[in-house]
Symmetry: C2
Subunit: 133 residues, 2 copies
DNA sequence: CTGTATCCGGAGTGATACTG
DNA sequence: CAGTATCACTCCGGATACAG
């Protein structure tokens, strides 16, 4: 797992690095962000919200977030199965900073659009209005 | 380059994802963080501050940050060469969020140390006091 | 509906040697 | 001092098929 990668004693990590290891996965920030907005999401809802993620990666990412105590997984023993994901208290602490990152990102995207529309193609950074607003 | 990876039109990116692409590199946050503390750093100083980074990765990361307009590179045409790196205005806007991340990271590290000292070995997340304090 | 299992290509990273 | 060049390797992440 990305976040449990072996690190030798020689490696000196600072807290910034540590934090990035926990939330730096490819989809982690987005999942936390969506979870904060919706409070509770089921597996299928997350899958639809993140159309570019495969089931494997979604499952794997959710496991890592759960192991790291950033989200809470609630299973209902029903048929068909039902699982709900929500933010833990520790996870909620990360929201303000993700929000800051989100504002910064939007600003940069808009700035790029103004100064160099061609760059849009390179980065193809479209805001997913359906979720991010 | 990590940040210029091709993205299909189908890929819908939200601003959070976009922002992470720009600062999510393995060493980027730490470099920005150190630059904020020291205001100006030379190549060699950065190299010594980040003992686990190779010259290749340091150069590459600095180039990406420069291309993204997050840092400023100032060359002095002297012998021996001298190059100074500092934060750009856009880069400075990211500091509050990195600071938040840093606080959160320290808190989590301390919490882990208390509840499960064994985990320290797994994550080997030592705060590099020399720089982060 | 909510996942697992398996295979596999390629980006990202590191080690080492070399340069102006 | 401040980088570049090259090679080798790990392992992240995608595609696909299958399962309870």
């Amino acid at each position: 797992m990305k976040n449990d990668q072996k690190v030798t004693e020689a490696t000196q990590l600072c807290a910034v690095d540590y934090a990035f290891k926990r939330i730096g996965g490819k989809y982690k920030a987005r999942i936390l962000w969506y979870l904060d907005m919706k409070r509770v999401l089921r597996y299928g809802e997350l899958s639809r919200t993140l159309p570019d993620i495969t089931t494997k990666m979604l499952t794997q990412t959710l496991r890592e977030l759960e192991d790291d105590k950033l989200i809470i997984r609630k299973m209902y023993h029903e048929v068909p199965p039902k699982v709900e994901y929500s933010l833990s208290e520790t996870g909620k602490e990360l929201i303000p900073f993700i929000a800051h990152l989100h504002r910064w990102g939007k600003k940069q995207i808009e700035k790029e659009a103004l100064t160099n529309p061609a760059k849009q193609d390179e980065r193809t950074a479209q805001v997913c209005n359906s979720v991010c607003g």
